[in-house]
Symmetry: none
Amino acid sequence: MQASIITVGDEILIGQVIDSNSAWLGQQLSEIGISVKKIWSVADESDQIILGMKQALEETDILFMTGGLGPTKDDITKKAIADFLGRDMYFDEPTFERIKSIFEKLGRSMSPSHHDQCMMPNGVEILFNSMGTAPGMLFRHEGKIIISMPGVPYEMKAIISEIVLPMIKSTSSIKICHKTILTACTGETTIENMIGDIVNSMPPYIKVAYLPAIASVRVRISGTGSDEAKLNDEIQHYTQLISQKLGDIVYGYDDSSLEQEILTLAIQKDLKISTAESCTGGAIASRLVTVPGSSAYYMGSIVAYDNAVKQNLLHVPEETISRIGAVSEETVKAMVIGVNQALQSDVSIGVTGIAGPDGGTPEKPVGHIWICVGNKDIQETFLLKAGKNRLKNIETTTFYALDMLRKFILKEY
Amino acid sequence: MQASIITVGDEILIGQVIDSNSAWLGQQLSEIGISVKKIWSVADESDQIILGMKQALEETDILFMTGGLGPTKDDITKKAIADFLGRDMYFDEPTFERIKSIFEKLGRSMSPSHHDQCMMPNGVEILFNSMGTAPGMLFRHEGKIIISMPGVPYEMKAIISEIVLPMIKSTSSIKICHKTILTACTGETTIENMIGDIVNSMPPYIKVAYLPAIASVRVRISGTGSDEAKLNDEIQHYTQLISQKLGDIVYGYDDSSLEQEILTLAIQKDLKISTAESCTGGAIASRLVTVPGSSAYYMGSIVAYDNAVKQNLLHVPEETISRIGAVSEETVKAMVIGVNQALQSDVSIGVTGIAGPDGGTPEKPVGHIWICVGNKDIQETFLLKAGKNRLKNIETTTFYALDMLRKFILKEY
């Protein structure tokens, strides 16, 4: 079964709102074996909506529509659907009673726009909205299905999760299964070459996709078929083969993250972690604490942006800085030893470099960044040669530093 | 002039990647008077790409395409374009030389997929990509324009900002002028009410839009006309009226940011700034250093995630923490005094709170966050009552803290 999605709303076209609804919907549908063939974002205009519906239903079996935000815009979508299907509108009493009772509970009175929410195209099947007043709508039309929902994300998600997915699952025979392998600090082309033989040996109903981001590539294995258990076994088999081949560049699977894996490892091995950051300026710390529960292992950071802080709080010798510079292997090692002691931790990250866009020299150009991970006995260093974009350099450094931390823990503890 | 956008990539259809490229592109185009009529997301399949191109060029004058991520997928898009236009491919020597020199600098060797990046459809106009190896491509076809770019966001943005927008602006006769007023920590409805009279007095060719983000609203004034100088004068006039009315909630204009304004103020007044962060975990520090040149005033941060760090490095009395808790007005004041002294700065920010999703109590629920800004003599505090979402709480706190710092500097120095 193939689906399409139409999101209605000028605010998406002018970039005021990012269309995260479609991404969520695409995820949910692909997990139950419906592939989304196309996503359209169209203006709040009846003829645009109708043209989109026409094209979508020519190409796919089921069409999901999410309205523009707010009662006024939902109204345009609803009328366009009625026009497209050639159906009249009627006043739906059960919807009216439900909205009325919600407002009575809130002690507020209904506005005319809430009256409009009760007008429905004939032949609608109402989809209960547990999160708001406007219900979802299902239409059957020439063997195809149209599902229209409000654009408010949590209302749309409630209708899909509570009503639509259970309905589709109970009738579908084709299954799609996924597994995603997360890799760090290795280029897409290198990974493709490493696992090319395995990928070429796969049956045609199993496919591999490479999804690169800064300093990381996600390798997604997907399979389509009718026997879900067999499919999952096969995908599991290829996941193992690929993971073995890729070795320690694999840091996790599916929705995990480097910071999540570090939290798990640190708690498992009862380690306290700290960081000393110069050019990343707190980016490593703030990424570690995005994961709930990070206070269980993360002590904190000394963001030593100024050299005086490197000397006074991290005890990097003044002599080191004046002789060889704040951006040097010696300094980054001293930073790790200093923060490890000052914050009473087991393992620490240190970073110092030239993030750019200015401040480079021929010897130490922009993007010249020292990373160190270690404990009181061992310090491992790496010189990252990054580019000229400040924000990208900070993000790349953060990722490399976290991956070094992960590998250090796995090796030493 | 009307535009459409096609984003190519299975990863968008299955929801692994949110299409933020289109939103950014929609914003940029609407600011120079090009309205985006439709956005398509299509699969990495030649026939889907060609069908999308056909429909897009029937409906609009200019088509922007962003490829799937990575050399492999760019390739599908490029071949689909060549097929659609009925053009053969050729090997583009200048592109090859450029990629070769990039790899020589990096000390790496080119892979076959980088060779493929040099294959171009005949008649292409190359758009220089300052951020990556794959160039953008422009095609003219039956009076319409097709612009195809890599899907990597910062590469796409570089090509648009540096090449495409200047090119479009230089050929257009209708001028669109903008001025954006940046406001902090005040709701959209409040701002609308404050400036309603001014907005109602504007001529019809000048419009106001409210663009809300976390803890901030951008008020954008746009005018359309042929006389650019007159239009700019009028917009300047209304910008002044609105700014006067809004008072000190205005922190800057256009592409500025709170961190940029703080850098300017700190350098102007010769102040050294430091931060002490608990629940934000380095987010304030990392936001301050996103601005190039921040090392001129920013000393660094003590991210005191663990209470031991609050005591040992920030000298928050153990008695304070055990009596009234680490999340308290007394603690946050002590953090500011402590970091101010430890990092030898003039003004400091302190933050301690419960970011969530767990860890709340009836007295101090999730979202209960103390912020303090001060120097050795004065400390001003604010209790933020935020929501339940961890990442949103961290972002909101960061914004409030930076705005308090801005106002403190303006008042005290």
